[in-house]
């Protein structure tokens, strides 16, 4: 049976039968794969601890007809173990993992998403920035990689140079007075500045931002994400803002 070996991040796990789990992995080279971890729920399992959400592992699987099977794992970075020690970091990590699962397709290489997710989880575990800011930066960039980058400056419809007052989620972000659809939001200029900083990785601006603008920005990011993913994210409701 064909086997493969790759670096991977565990996106999610689902119980299967008495003691197995289906493990969804984002691998570096192959993209997303789903594999069965046999016996991993038994406390004596040799690799149960490694096949948990947000763990970065070196994994070996053999291919099956519908599901692959995990045969070996080595730990590269047990990020999940650190992230689970706080409810904020665990919730933010869960939203990242769920988003990544939704933005990637099985067996379609997604190296950029892999690197972004690994970086974001590492940053979250490092506890240097507000976990919710790290989350929003991740969400904006993950959407950008998927081709849904919102505009925070120029008009998303006609390209007229910004800044513009109006912001429209369906319209793609900032919109000029001529393109502005009815019902557009009018967020604070600082909020758009914060989101733009998060998208480009300008942490000096992001860290100095006001809680009010963080909350408003988080609302816009959430609305953007929900609009592009046809079903809502379950974990996003759990984030306390």
């Amino acid at each position: 049976m064909p086997t493969y070996r790759d670096e991977a991040i565990v996106l999610r796990t689902q119980k299967l039968g008495e003691s197995d789990r289906i493990i969804t992995l984002l691998t570096r080279r192959l993209g997303k794969v789903r594999a069965v971890g046999r016996g991993v729920r038994k406390t004596k399992s040799k690799f149960g601890a490694r096949l948990e959400p947000a763990m970065v592992i070196d994994v070996q699987c053999y291919e099956g007809r519908s599901l692959d099977t995990v045969t070996q794992t080595e730990s590269i970075d047990p990020l999940g173990d650190r992230l689970a020690r706080g409810i904020e970091t665990w919730t933010a990590a869960s939203v990242m993992l769920e988003t990544c699962d939704r933005l990637t397709e099985e067996r379609e290489p997604a190296l950029q998403q892999f690197l972004l997710l690994r970086g974001a989880l590492t940053s979250l575990a490092g506890a240097v920035h507000d976990p919710n800011l790290v989350l929003d930066a991740y969400l904006l960039r993950a959407m950008a990689i998927a081709g849904y980058a919102p505009s925070f400056h120029d008009c998303a419809k006609c390209g007229a140079p910004g800044p513009h007052l109006a912001f429209n989620v369906v319209g793609g972000g900032s919109v000029c007075p001529l393109c502005r659809p009815p019902g557009s939001a009018a967020p604070a200029r600082e909020t758009l500045g914060l989101l733009s900083a998060l998208l480009t990785g300008d942490w000096v601006i992001a860290d100095a931002s006001d809680p009010r603008h963080r909350r408003e920005g988080a609302g816009l990011v959430a609305a953007f994400l929900q609009w592009h993913l046809e079903r809502g994210l379950r974990s996003l409701r759990m984030v306390e803002r």
């Binding site: 999610r12 119980k15 039968g17 008495e18 406390t43 004596k44 040799k46 690799f47 149960g48 601890a49 490694r50 948990e52 959400p53 947000a54 730990s75 047990p78 999940g80 173990d81 992230l83 689970a84 020690r85 706080g86 409810i87 665990w90 919730t91 869960s94 939203v95 993992l97 769920e98 379950r234 974990s235 409701r237 759990m238 984030v239």
Partner: protein
Amino acid sequence: MYEGAVQDLIDELGRLPGVGPKGAQRIAFHLLQADPQDVERLSDVLLAVKEKVRYCERCFNVAESQLCRVCADQRRDQSAICVVEEPKDVVAIERTREFRGTYHVLGGAISPIDGIGPGDLRFTELMTRLASGEVTEVIIATDPNLEGEATAAYLSRFLKGMDLKVTRLASGLPVGGDLEYADEVTLGRAFEGRTLVHV
């Protein structure tokens, strides 16, 4: 696909946790060939479990009256509460015969990805029990996986500042194994939770 009743049975069995389509078919045909009395007994207990069994008003363990067997037992130490995720964890701990206190069943673990947050678990009910002042020790016994870890982290922060002794089950090495085969997470936890032999 089979005809009517047989297929209905296979469908119902297939909805049970841990039963796949093949297993459902196997159980269905086993039941078809079984003695009528055996099947009747099975259907009786299935109905009885829904009729008689409810949740303990105090700890949310499964119970046949207002209180579960543990809560109703006067000899149990009411000053210690062991917090677990599910009723089956109560059974597992009871089997050790190590613990003489009472339990509190949360009803699951914090799992944002499944849409389960602290508000969906019985933390408020635990607070109400602690408010009586009778309890002096809380033992956190959530599952040794990351959801259990997140739940324990939440709970321990919740309990901080209260006049309580809060302990947590040690995560350690499986008895009967070789140290070299332990994964780094388990081994790391075992180091964290090492116990004093002498100074």
